[in-house]
């Protein structure tokens, strides 16, 4: 080789070296890897350009030594790093360290430094002195800050994920043709298995499934693979400790050009499932209770006519079947009978306006034509929007019918009372007729005898006088019978007097006779004085007085209708005047004073005893009874009673 050749070769070599050095620098720059050399004897540290850059310095900015390098290591990492290096060097192992550095601008970076292990045979390896101690070290340094951060972030997100899975009782899994290839640790927990173990085989997995769900589960897995379709089902599993849990499994197929398998989640929905079952049960109980009591529940806005809730029973009460979907407000509303709708609407509008609760009764006509009585109770919560109500609907048809039955019964009782009264009068009249007929017959016979004694020749005056005297006796006897009747209430019934509130009696009698009055278009109306004293009287007899006078009034108006007025006023003498007035035919034109006489009647089926008895009772109570003709039409019957204080005094 010529010198020139050598020169040339050297130049070429130098150029090559320069080129490879440049390429090395370039490679280091791209890979963020620098190298360093540390002469242990001279304490000179040589860095590559990239090493300078990693440390936040300009390439070859200043010479470095151990102290300057050490100063740039993060204070927290400094001690362990160098101690570790020393120990490793002594032990003859390659120091391999990760540590943080602080750039001059304060930025912290994480670097990874490797000092190659096999340095004795490699150029640049640390040289050892006679004792075997290296006097030169060579190594690389790599900025791994970004990778570190990514790793941290990944770790963090994995932590969040697993924590999230743990909190949500949700595990994840992957499944391919060979079986499960991944179970998240939470999925193990859910199944009561050790998270460090392997995912179970399909067979092992099916063994975990509750025996009752196993067949359907197997079927589902077969279908999954056959159809490659997503799925979502809930089944029971039995943990090794024997506890049953509900697990909801959601999976989606993974397809990358071809079908790869499934990924999905397993969620422990036991609490949710039990709650759902509980809710379902409670709902069933509620539905049952509603159906038993014919009570439906609902929530709606009456103004916007929106229904938020309507129980099945609620729909059923209106004759609808809610199993085919929600029934609109108007369908409910249109069943209401026209006769009831106006009043109902007014009530609801008032309630809405006032924001008040309501309680209404109305009738509906169901699609099958049946008329039902419903009661609706609505509650408005002030925090809700105007018109919003929750409430119940109750079918009260049976109750209403029972009430009507009761009313009919009461009417019957009233009719019966009337019939009884008439019958009693009839009996009394018959008994009386016999009692009176006896002395009258005797006196007629005696009169006949008397005439015959006088007709004799000569007349037998003695016998005639005796007969005449018997006539007188029998005549008196007849009069006594009448007197006895008049005093019937004085002697005949033992006094059962107590303090009586006339208002009570008037109320009772009005209630008892109301139906009868309504039937003849008669209004009963009372104008009672506020401070009406109580009276000391026989309650039953007073009832009879009211009944007689009120029945008479009704009788007088039964063909024309009219108004029956009961009024009362106290007199200065402490008496009470009660007046019962009608707008009927009025008093008879002929001998109106005779109306109180026994057997005097103007009615075809009357006994003529009503007013006579009334008079007896009132007089027995120390009062008087009389009648007056009204200014317009009709008559008024008045009677007086002693006020309680007066009666005591």
């Amino acid at each position: 080789m010529t010198n020139e050749g050598v020169q040339k070769t050297l130049a070429e070599l130098s150029r090559d070296l320069q080129e490879s050095k440049a390429r090395l620098e370039e490679a280091q720059h791209v890979a963020h890897v620098g190298h360093w050399e540390w002469d242990l004897e001279t304490d000179v540290v040589v860095w590559s350009d990239e090493t300078y850059r990693i440390f936040g310095l300009s390439p070859q900015e200043r010479p470095m030594n151990l102290a300057t390098v050490r100063a740039m290591v993060h204070p927290e990492d400094r001690e362990p790093l160098y101690r570790g290096v020393d120990e490793d060097l002594l032990a003859g192992v390659r120091p391999d360290a990760e540590f943080r550095i602080v750039r001059p601008n304060g930025e912290v970076r994480t670097v990874h430094s490797v000092t190659p292990k096999r340095w004795s045979s490699m150029p640049g390896d640390a040289k050892r002195d006679a004792s075997g101690r290296p006097y030169k070290l060579f190594g690389t340094v790599q900025d791994i800050t970004d990778r570190k951060r990514a790793e941290e972030a990944l770790k963090q997100s994995q932590f969040y994920l697993s924590e999230g899975q743990r909190l949500a009782h949700m595990g994840s899994w992957a499944f391919n043709a060979a079986g499960f290839d991944y179970w998240s640790s939470e999925l193990f927990h859910i199944h009561g298995l050790d998270p460090t173990g392997k995912p179970p085989t399909v067979e092992g997995y099916l063994n975990l499934v509750h025996p009752e769900d196993r067949d359907s589960m197997q079927h589902e897995i077969q279908k999954m693979f056959a159809e490659h379709r997503g799925f979502d089902f809930t089944k029971r599993i039995v943990r090794p400790d024997g506890k049953t849990r509900y697990v909801r499994c959601v999976g989606v197929p993974v397809t990358e050009l071809t079908f790869k398998g499934f990924v999905g989640t397993g969620i422990d929905v036991t609490e949710h499932e039990l709650l759902t079952q509980e809710l379902r049960r409670e709902r069933a109980y509620l539905t049952e209770a509603q159906s038993l009591t014919h009570t439906g529940s609902w929530a709606c806005n009456l103004l916007t006519r929106q229904i938020f809730h309507s129980s099945d029973e609620n729909a059923r009460l209106y004759g609808f079947d809610s199993s085919h979907g929600a029934i609109p407000f108007d369908s409910f509303y249109n069943t209401i009978l026209v006769e009831d709708e106006v009043a109902l609407r007014a009530k609801l509008e008032n309630a809405i306006r006032a924001g008040a609760d309501y309680d209404v009764e109305f009738r509906i006509r169901r699609a099958d034509g049946a008329i039902r009585f419903l009661r609706g109770i609505g509650h408005h919560n002030p925090i809700q929007e105007i018109g919003e109500y929750v409430g119940i609907t109750v079918d009260i048809t049976e109750r209403k019918r029972a009430e009507e039955e009761r009313e009919k019964l009461r009417q019957l009782e009233a009719d019966l009372a009337h019939v009884n009264r008439v019958n009693m009068m009839g009996e009394l009249a018959a008994a009386l007729a016999h009692e009176i007929r006896q002395p009258i017959a005797a006196s007629i016979t005696s009169a006949n005898a008397c005439l015959r004694w006088l007709a004799r020749d000569p007349p037998d005056l003695e016998r005639a006088r005796a007969a005449a005297s018997r006539i007188e006796q029998d005549g008196n006897r007849a009069a006594e019978v009448i007197n006895h009747l008049r005093s019937f209430y004085k002697k005949g019934t033992p006094p059962e007097r107590g303090i009586v509130d006339l208002k009570d009696i008037i109320r009772e009698m009005t209630a008892l006779l109301r139906k009868q009055a309504v039937r003849h278009s008669i209004k009963i109306h009372s104008e009672l004085h506020e401070n009406m004293p109580n009276v000391l009287a026989d309650r039953v007899q007073l009832q009879q007085v009211f009944m007689n006078l009120m029945l008479n009034a009704i009788e007088a108006m039964k063909d024309t209708g009219g108004k029956l007025t009961i009024s009362s006023r106290p007199t200065p003498e402490g008496q009470l005047i009660v007046s019962i007035s009608d707008t009927g035919a009025g008093l008879p034109a002929e001998s109106p004073e005779r109306i109180f006489d026994a057997f005097h009647t103007t009615k075809p089926q009357g006994t003529g005893m009503g007013l006579a008895i009334t008079r007896s009772i009132v007089e027995a109570h120390g009062g008087q009874v009389w009648a007056t003709a009204n200014q317009g039409t009709g008559a008024t019957f008045h009677f007086t009673l002693q006020g309680e204080a007066e009666a005591h005094g």
Partner: protein
């Protein structure tokens, strides 16, 4: 024949005034009257045996007039009854009349109606009493016959000839003739027809 006794009208009514009035009325037309407050009182007192009738109030304490009527009929006492009542009705009067009452009067009644009814009733009573008296006389005569004569009388009124009677009782025709003559005499019968009428009243029959 005995002469008829003085007719008596018995009055049963719980009303004293009524009782007295009727008694007085009857006396004013010359009838005898006796009055009682109840059926029991009437039965417990002996009364005259002449022709009589009963004026009976329907409504009586204890035993009603209709019950009393039935009881009299059961005891064989035949007395015509006139009912009076203060509250009669049609079914009651029908029942009374069916049971043999002469009349049913409602109080107060016309005096003449009562007196007419009483006359009618006494007529009945008188006829019944005469009939009773005649039967009584015939019974006495019949009693006076010998057993053989009673036997022959039954056979005679049954229409048998002497010869047949003789063979029936196993004797001669001549003996039968003697018995027959005795029967006609003792019974004071003018003819066989007369005897047949008597046997009828005595309710005699061949089987006896």
């Amino acid at each position: 024949m005995k002469p008829a006794a003085v007719p008596t009208v018995f009055i049963i009514d719980d009303d004293r005034g009524m009782r007295q009035a009727i008694e007085d009325l009857l006396e004013s037309v010359g009838l005898r009257a006796e009055s009682f407050a109840s059926g029991e009182e009437f039965l417990s007192r002996r009364h005259t045996s002449g022709p009589s009738c009963l004026v009976l109030d329907v409504r009586l304490p204890q035993m009603s007039g209709l019950d009393f009527q039935r009881r009299l009929a059961e005891s064989g006492m035949q007395v015509p009854i006139i009912f009076i009542t203060a509250h009669g009705d049609v079914p009651m009067s029908v029942r009374a009349l069916k049971s043999g009452a002469v009349e049913f009067l409602t109080k107060p009644f016309r005096d003449q109606d009562l007196l007419d009814a009483i006359q009618q009733a006494l007529q009945h009573a008188r006829a019944a009493q005469e009939e009773q008296a005649e039967i009584h006389t015939l019974q006495e005569r019949h009693h006076a016959l010998t057993p053989r004569e009673q036997q022959v009388m039954v056979l005679v009124v049954s229409g048998m000839l002497n010869k047949q009677i003789a063979s029936e009782i196993g004797t001669s025709e001549a003996t039968v003739k003697i018995h027959r003559g005795n029967v006609m005499h003792k019974m004071q019968a003018g003819s066989v027809v007369d005897l047949v009428r008597m046997a009828d009243k005595l309710k005699l029959s061949p089987s006896k």
